[in-house]
């Protein structure tokens, strides 16, 4: 009974994983014949002066989006774990951004932030009227905001589930000992949510390696290379410049980075599972 799933997964998951490693030692333009290329692709990519910047941008967006999303998701999750009817309604509404495709979200924000016809000029608000996607730092900020807009709802749901598993007796005991609400939050809620925090962080961090469509449509990596993350770099090298070999090198780096990050986070927290799936 396990055979059909295993076969599909091996053919389209494991074989390509091995294949990408092999292709990183090959020369291929995406159409013609494939030649072996030795380590030349690796040399090209690793000595590319643009690579450190790409890696830096990838980590910058990874870290900043984690740092923005985690505290907000945690607070919202704790809040949503309450029982009033309207909180259930809020949780329903929060979920809506996850239903939109990244393409739709990127297109929407591009229109909203347009310096001529977007929200700022429309409302005559000067601070909103900026060339948001035309300046490096602003563009990185926009990417992080849009990512948070899309995924904080999901992570707050994870936290909501986690908070509900905390035994209420712990809060009762703390209240008897005279601990205030803030004290309770830091002494009970946060430590009890350790595994939830690690699960959620793993999903965020490893998932951020796969931000492609959002950035591709929103900024196409620009302005300049300000938002050119590794996944986008791979696409541009492979499918725009037709250099599949160097693109495969980037892909291998992505796999290795993803596995390392997942393992490190798992080490931190005992046993959790990581997912690369978009939105997960």
């Amino acid at each position: 009974m396990v055979v059909p799933a295993l076969a599909m997964f091996v053919v389209f998951g494991i074989v390509p994983l091995v294949g990408v490693l092999l292709l990183s030692f090959a020369q291929w333009d995406g159409l013609g014949a494939i030649h072996t290329a030795g380590i030349s692709n690796w040399r090209t990519v690793l000595s590319d002066p643009a690579l450190p910047h790409t890696v830096l941008v990838t980590f910058e967006i990874m870290f900043l989006s984690w740092a923005v999303q985690t505290p907000l998701s945690l607070l919202l999750g704790v809040f949503l774990a309450g029982r009033q009817r309207y909180r259930a309604l809020l949780a329903v509404l929060y979920f809506v951004p996850l239903l939109l495709s990244s393409a739709a979200i990127a297109i929407t924000y591009k229109a909203l932030l347009d310096p001529n016809f977007g929200l700022g000029p429309g409302l005559h608000l000067d601070f909103l009227t900026q060339d948001w996607l035309g300046k490096g730092n602003l563009a990185v900020g926009v990417v992080i905001f849009v990512v948070s807009w899309q995924f904080i709802p999901f992570h707050s749901l994870i936290y909501q589930g986690g908070v509900r598993q905390i035994p209420t007796t712990m809060y009762e005991a703390a209240a008897i000992d005279g601990a205030g609400r803030i004290r309770q939050f830091f002494s009970i809620t946060v430590p009890q949510l350790k595994y939830t925090i690690i699960t959620s962080s793993t999903l965020m961090v490893v998932g951020s390696l796969t931000f492609f469509d959002l950035i591709f449509i929103l900024t196409a990596g620009g302005p300049g290379d300000a938002t050119r993350v590794l996944a986008l770099d791979m696409y541009k090298r492979g499918f725009q410049a037709n250099l599949m070999g160097p693109a495969s090198v980037i892909a291998v780096l992505l796999v290795v980075l993803g596995l390392i990050l997942a393992l490190v986070l798992r080490r931190l927290g005992g046993s959790t599972t990581a997912s690369q799936q978009e939105g997960a």
């Binding site: 998951g13 929407t108 924000y109 749901l157 909501q160 609400r181 993803g258 997960a280």
Partner: protein, 294 residues
Amino acid sequence: MAVLTSSAATRPAGSNPVGMRRLTQLNWFGGAAGWLWLVIVLVPLYWIVVTSFKDQSAFFTQNPFALPADPTIENYRLVIESDFPRYFVNSVVVTAGTIIPAVAISFMAAYAIVRGAGSRLLAGVNGLFLMGLAIPLQATIIPVYLLIIRMHLYDSLLALILPSIAFSIPLSVLVLTNFIRDVPKELFESMRVDGASEWGMLRKLALPLTRPALVTVSIYNGLGVWNGFLLPLILTQSPDKRTLPLALWTFQGQYSVNVPAVLASVVLTTLPIVILYALGRRQLLSGLTAGFSR
């Protein structure tokens, strides 16, 4: 069982109302933040819908948040009279063509893994699927592209379906094994005594009891496939093979000056999934928390 499995994930056992009230009294700060976030979430959504009913001149002159003075469905007409219906059908075919086989084979695999607990081979297979959770789809796209070309499937809908099935398997198996494990062993044993085969137990016992999880993984994977952008971008070429997110992107290029029309197409691509969400919300949320928490 549905109640049992979903409540285990979202409700603490033996919670008492007094303790709960203490937890929920969380304070005005949390409340304020919660409502503020709602505003941040809803404002762009409101703007999309409102603007999609405006004509071009109203879009340029009116306050962006004002309701259209003269609402028009012209934008929707423009979108629907383009090739939009074809893209919609493509998306439906790819999504249904992915999730039905993906969920079926994942369910069979999850059943085998749970029932065969103790088998080294099955444990290894399960480990392989779990590792799959840490493989980024993007990273394997180049060999998948090569594979699809060599299989002469490039620029077909099947080219989108096959890799999508494969990438749905790891998470589906994870969530489904978690649910099937909750089925009491005694039930299997008593069915075994009554002479049921493994297939019989899979169909008559495991299937009905894991229905909420099946709905969850279907919606979750369906969402990913419906909204997928990378595979259609790389594995298809002809305009008539486009799915909705890709069509949205090209549409945006063509009609970049006509923002209301672009937003109407955003609404139209999102509407089906919002309707699905409304129908399957409970299972989706309980399944997700069961799959991810702890």
